[in-house]
Symmetry: C2
């Protein structure tokens, strides 16, 4: 047995669209490419799949290289495969989006590579088809977040409802009614109220909540309708 002779072999890479939230704004982590061509241009964090790796393994490795993080929420979302998308050599890109809490990892990031957080509204021109990847990732994130409680992955373990709302408003670039928002989120049964309050952002203070992990995993696949009039965002 000598393999499938005569078939076309190619490189396969993973590229990670890394979303982060710092408490106020939704951001994207980009790196300056450290190889030719397009050296020093902004790019998504990516890397080639190695012989022993699954695509998921590769994506996790790439993410850990950049951020020091393991066990990050990550989802495969699309393969980009135009034959000439990488001018150097044919390369498939399997894309993942990842969600992390910026504050929790300020230090690890930005060590190995020249990396920087960009406001979603201020993404620079990226190499190859990476801007297209970012746009599709934004769509997929909005789609999924309208139905499933994934955005909690962007928050610290303890968070307040107003913080959560700011996050949702960042993702959808709009404003939601405070009163309906908090009741809707509380009614999911996913939140456990903590005795402490966050007194920094208001005089009254807002109670902290944390995820009810049991209900979270149990209800994760349910259709939740977390966003009013979600249609208008697509």
């Amino acid at each position: 047995m000598h393999g499938y002779v005569g078939e076309h072999k190619l490189l396969a890479a993973v590229d990670c669209i890394i979303f982060g939230f710092d408490g106020w704004n939704l951001k994207l982590l980009l790196v300056q490419r450290n190889m030719d061509p397009e050296r020093n241009k902004w790019s998504l964090m990516g890397g080639f799949i190695k012989p022993s790796e699954t695509p998921e393994n590769a994506a996790n490795r790439v993410l850990e290289q950049l951020t020091g993080l393991k066990n990050v929420y990550m989802e495969q979302f699309h393969v980009f495969g135009k034959p000439d998308r990488d001018p150097v050599e044919r390369t498939l890109s399997i894309t993942y989006y990842a969600l992390i809490d910026i504050n929790q990892y300020k230090e690890q990031i930005l060590q190995n590579q020249r990396a920087e957080w960009f406001l979603l509204t201020e993404i620079p021109a990226l190499i190859f088809d990476h801007n297209e990847m970012v746009n599709l990732a934004k769509r997929k994130l909005r789609y999924k977040a309208a139905l499933h409680p994934i955005l909690f992955q962007l928050l610290p373990e303890k968070f307040t409802i107003p913080q959560l709302q700011a996050l949702y408003e960042g993702v959808y670039n709009t404003n939601f009614d405070d009163r309906n928002f908090s009741r809707k989120l509380l009614s999911t049964g996913l939140l456990l109220k903590l005795p402490e309050k966050d007194k920094l952002s208001s005089k009254k203070g807002a109670f902290y909540y944390r995820l009810d992990q049991t209900n979270y995993t149990k209800n994760f696949e349910k259709f939740l309708n977390l966003v009013p009039n979600p249609d208008k965002f697509f």
Copy 2:
């Protein structure tokens, strides 16, 4: 410029999960593999990506080879990439599911290859990880069909509401209330009533409908809630 030297190159294939509906049952199109290893075992229809092709091109080519069909509804859904998933040689598989009306193409199919339609409930053991692919495709189909009107792709141009209902019931392997089902589907505004009736399946006869293409493309991305209690299917 000599490419990215030292990186791992591999084969990339597409595999198509082809769903079909014959008016009564939801089925899956499988072929008997015509190469070693696992020659003559049942398998999904697939093929390697060629140098000039995008993955989408390859999937369309593979589908046309088997069915003679172009312009079939097809959606990329997952990359399977365990290093040893194909024992011959490392091969990534990019999977697509496709939706076709069985009756419209009875002749073209089954020419080139030994192919056969299988009831979804009677899928045989398939090569490699193809059973896993089928299961994920079923999930994705159910998920998408609960929110978007994709199942029309499985019906002929003219169809009745009871036919449509039989299709939905096949996909979800359950029964829906006839009266609520028809009103829900009619209320989408996607259907145009035709003057003719189908008199074969009942004495009263059921009116034929066809898709309102304009509304169909316009509302395709909207969240439609076509299935009652969709959560229980995941």
